[in-house]
Point group: C2
Chain length 449, copies 2
């Protein structure tokens, strides 16, 4: 691939536009996409300008908005107009929503009237609703056509639609009354009626169905596309599987950010300003910090114990750290189980039973390990001190495991999102109970009153 | 939905099988899937037995293996045989790999010869390779057919294939030489040759391509299916988009587990034994605990500082906790950016620049907040002590932010997986440097020698 890139670079340097165009037309689109990331900005622009329209669109499809914006700005207004006319209306609407205001205006002016109309319709809806994902370019037929007529009609009308594989059957009021796949249509007898071949139990979503829900439905039924209807059951558009795959990736990023207490953003990291990055991170850090300051009071309450045995302070980070790690593990298994529907609140007692046993086994193992580590390696501590830390570790892990499992379940029971809420609640509970257990155990074993 | 469920329950209690069958046949499959989770085991089995074959398969498709196993065991061997014959070969191979050994044997004996052959072929491959995902039921034609002949052939041979929308063009040695979508075939002139209509630059994967890579390729090109070839370019099978969506979900779960230091597993939580759960969790807890014990030595090194001002111990958890939280945020942004391809190692200096600024802004804010909290709320501390904690917090956050950003980049540079490796490395570095900064700042401000 690098040799290929080097060759291309040579080309870009001294070849005439005409010859370059011919040479580039030979490069398969997948190789273009692959090398694109390695080009610098100047090379990108030079190469992009001479691509034919179809490849321009294919390439644009794989890029973040900031790149798309850069490329579109580099074109003459005539070329930009042609390119925009080729984009799918749903991608176009997304693009218009995401670009900077200056570019938005010139893009808008470059649109054909029909494209403006389609984009306006789609822009009315929320970005993360079914309607925000849908395209209005689908095939729709009447129920009283014969199969052969329908097939001939599909063949004549297949340009400019996003998929030809599902054909939607509408009544005169544009209400969706059935759906027939191209496959079923081809399998049917030529003179049968569409209404006898179509599936009448159509699985639909509403215009305001959340995109995550839309994804789940499409996944459950392994569909290529889902029709979006309004509350009169009129067909507004369809959401295709490729947009759903994007949604699943997006939600995945969001979930991972939530778990790390970072707010999601539609901007990429490099696009984001420093202030935007601070805004995405600081709110949860403040909440977590304030919640954690309770630990200050807990430790202060054991001041006399610490003064009697300052060694106890050495082990504070491993007590809170190990508690936090075990709690996070349990919480993650619960949150993921709830999200995939594998765990339900009815399973509560089975979960508690399992987590108590798991916590005991892990706690005892880590407790023994802690005692051994404390005795064998520096800093030097007495056997009783080591035993106090190890014993505390057993109970800290058991409690942390249980808290980690119960916090997400409790929060989910309240109808809140456990992914976000479990973090600070769990961390504080585990730290406070962990430190209390630790100092109480130490008091007992070291006979500090 | 609950009213509907209640009605169904009434039915199940006292209706005769014959009448129940008729009543259930009226329920749309999507409603069945939706209420299924709420049924108890007895109800499930009763209902499942009387469903027609097609709905049995549809329903099975949406369930975890443990449920599938339960349902299949409840059928007479004759009914089980009919059901297995209807399953897609790739789903069947997965099922055979996942069920318990007793069931596996009886399932195997129930298979038709052709199904055994297909399953054997698929079972040769790794579960998470392209070949482990593929189906062998695709449409393949010769390049010298006319379009009209090809269309007629497709219509005659569309039963029992997974998709009819992509048709693969093979030479006499079964090598893949082109692909034509049903759409393009329908758009072409009847007497044109397939070889003139087909796309020759076929995007393929090898039998041993990792499933994550397969998913990325299918996503990039928005394909319905990807052909899997061997190293002679012979077509082995195809991977369809619905299996890819499952892969994306699976990888998502794996990533989230990795971030929380839990090993992934193909068993669900409730299916797993306590020992299996311990095995999934304890290895990373041990590694993290051992790495964290370095903090014990760090604090022990400042024993005299602690003895002079035991108050400093009160703030240890918020110093390590806030450091950990800020580090995790940076690390997550990096890991996600690397995974989506949005960030590259070449961007290193821009990333460092941004993270230093972000760390400074967040550090100063949290430092001020810490001083205010320490002065205003109990436990009582001197102004100098509060200032020491707050000042340390500024530097701890800056260092943690940088370490959090650099650890994943460094690990990824070494060719290792940052999702797993970044955790312990980062946590230890942040705790050690955080505590050192904390005690050094305190020594300076509190004038302890």
């Amino acid at each position: 691939m690098t040799a290929f890139l080097d060759n291309l670079r040579e080309y870009l340097k001294d070849i005439k536009d005409q010859d370059l165009k011919k040479a580039v037309a030979e490069i398969p689109i997948n190789e273009l996409i692959e090398i694109w990331d390695d080009l610098d900005e100047e090379e990108e622009l030079k190469l992009f300008r001479i691509l034919d329209l179809e490849r321009k669109v294919d390439l644009m499809d794989t890029m973040p908005v900031s790149k798309q914006e850069l490329l579109i700005r580099s074109l003459t207004s005539e070329h930009a107009k042609a390119l925009l006319a080729e984009m799918d209306p749903d991608d176009l609407a997304d693009f218009i929503q995401s670009v900077s205001p200056e570019v938005r205006e010139s893009v808008w002016n470059a649109l054909e009237d029909e494209a403006k109309e389609e984009a306006l319709l789609l822009l009315k809806y929320d970005y993360d609703d079914a309607a925000g994902l849908m395209t209005t370019r689908y095939l729709a037929i009447r129920p009283n056509l014969k199969v052969a007529q329908a097939l001939a009609w599909v063949r004549r009308n297949m340009q400019n639609v996003e998929t030809v594989y599902y054909i939607y059957v509408l009544d005169p009021l544009k209400r969706l009354i059935g759906i027939v796949s191209l496959r079923d249509l081809m399998a049917a007898a030529d003179d049968d009626l569409v209404q006898n071949v179509m599936v009448k139990e159509v699985i639909t979503v509403f215009q305001d169905t959340d995109q995550e829900e839309v994804a789940k439905i499409l996944e459950t039924y392994d569909l290529l596309a889902l029709p979006v209807v309004d509350h009169y059951h009129r067909l507004l558009g369809i959401v295709t599987f490729d947009d759903i795959i994007d949604v699943i990736r997006e939600e995945q990023t969001e979930d991972i950010y939530k778990m790390s207490a970072v707010s999601a953003s539609r901007e990429t990291y490099l696009e984001s300003s420093v202030f935007a990055l601070v805004r995405r991170r600081i709110p949860w850090l403040i909440i977590l910090l304030l919640a954690a300051t309770i630990t200050t009071n807990v430790i202060a309450g054991y001041r006399h114990v610490l003064e009697a045995a300052v060694v106890l302070a050495f082990f504070i980070p491993i007590v809170t750290g190990t508690g936090g790690n075990s709690g996070t593990q349990s919480a993650t298994l619960m949150i993921r189980g709830l999200a995939t529907g594998e765990l339900r609140l009815q399973d509560l007692w089975r979960i508690i039973g399992k987590e108590v046993l798991v916590g005991m086994l892990i706690g005892i193992s880590l407790g023994i390990l802690t005692v051994l580590r404390a005795i064998l390696l520096p800093p030097e501590v007495t056997f009783n001190e080591a035993l106090a830390v190890g014993t505390a570790m057993v109970f800290v892990v058991i409690v942390a495991t249980l808290v980690g499992a119960l916090a997400p379940l409790a929060i989910s029971r309240l109808g809140l999102d456990p992914t976000v809420m479990a973090g600070p609640l769990m961390a504080t509970l585990i730290d406070v109970s962990g430190l209390t257990i630790y100092f109480e155990t130490a008091k007992l074993l070291l006979r500090v009153m």
